[in-house]
Symmetry: C2
Subunit: 225 residues, 2 copies
């Protein structure tokens, strides 16, 4: 049985909406970042730390995806930035239409930075463009250093690898150099930051990457306009 | 765009092959167990510990699934039981046809126990029956105690929850009682074993569960024949 033609149709429809979102993000100067990882690698904790570190006047918002529950939105709302939960009800990834629908009552001109936290999954989200400026893959050091080789697509497509939970390095058999090497086998020159959302170690590296990305995106927007 | 009719056709075709596999497993007295978890929760390590603990004369085999790489099969082969890697090339789950194809040159009458290690993913594998006698979900304590609520389907469909990496409990913010409670909210009465594949803690509980399952399956096979 051949699923390919329908898959292709679904993906091309998704790409059309994603291209439209990307154009709108560019028009309004919104940097959209799509965070992807396995369940429990620490996307939400990283976002908690990030929202905590950003100035309250920053124009930042979060769309957070899950199969079920509003847990993540509830965790993120306490930082007083706009947050919306997208529950997919069974679908293993966000798609561009879900993003479009959940943005409908937000004014993009009021935003500079939009985080999209995808469903916890290293496979399906990799195929769905959400109109983001960049994908970011989060890998926790408890997951094993071979994951970039086993799930190459998402490591290839992401601009940045966040190696999370480095506080656990003394307690797990994880070779952080081998992990970085594997990531760069799949994606030569891939940027990597090493953080612990629990202790805060390395977070300055992540924030530095983020601020550089925001600055670069601002230049791009100014050139485009 | 409506994907439902094709999904349904793919799933019903899968169910037909799975039913056929289940009948063949029963006919030949093979207990098939389908292990499912996020990437890096420790399915392969649990299998390494299990194969190490089983008598060499036991008639055990493993099919291990991944998007890419033969790493897991290579790790498992050193225990001298038959092991085959299934690389899905992008698909986020195993399906019954892959199992059927990879079993083609094994004689089921030579086997008593078949482990299937699914692709690392808490979502997609839950929809695909592989003809197994039971699904087993593995959750590592680094992943957060809310996972059963966020990914209810796989916790509902699994006979057993293996809470893995309990050696890391002192270092992670994980409430093991809340995790068990969440699992039993989704699946009342769910059996749970707590193990560390690294230190070996709790593995006797897992082996006890496994031996009880093998015994019960043997009775079932004898009744059926």
């Amino acid at each position: 049985m051949d699923r390919v033609p329908l898959e292709r149709k679904v993906l091309s429809e998704n790409d059309r909406i994603a291209a439209d979102l990307r154009a709108r993000f560019l028009e309004h100067g919104v940097l959209c970042l799509n965070l992807i990882s396995s369940p429990g690698s620490g996307k939400t904790s990283l976002l908690e730390r990030t929202l905590e570190a950003l100035p309250r006047q920053d124009r930042v918002a979060v769309l957070t995806g899950d199969i079920q529950t509003e847990n993540d939105a509830n965790r993120l709302k306490r930082f007083h930035f706009p947050v919306k939960q997208i529950t997919t009800g069974g679908t293993c990834h966000l798609d561009a239409r879900m993003i479009e629908r959940h943005l409908a009552d937000w004014r993009l001109q009021d935003l500079d930075l939009l985080f999209v936290e995808n469903v916890g999954n290293l496979v399906c989200p990799s195929s769905y463009d959400l109109g983001e400026a960049a994908k970011i893959v989060v890998l926790s050091v408890t997951e094993g250093e071979d994951k970039p080789l086993k799930y190459p697509s998402i490591f290839f497509k992401s601009d940045l690898l966040v190696l999370n939970k480095i506080d656990l390095l003394p307690y797990v058999p994880f070779d952080i150099n081998a992990a970085a090497e594997n990531a760069r086998k799949v994606h030569p020159g891939m940027e990597i930051v090493k953080v612990s959302s629990l202790t805060g170690a390395g977070l300055h590296e992540w924030i530095t990457w983020l601020e550089a990305k925001r600055k670069a995106h601002k230049s791009l927007v100014e050139t485009a306009s």
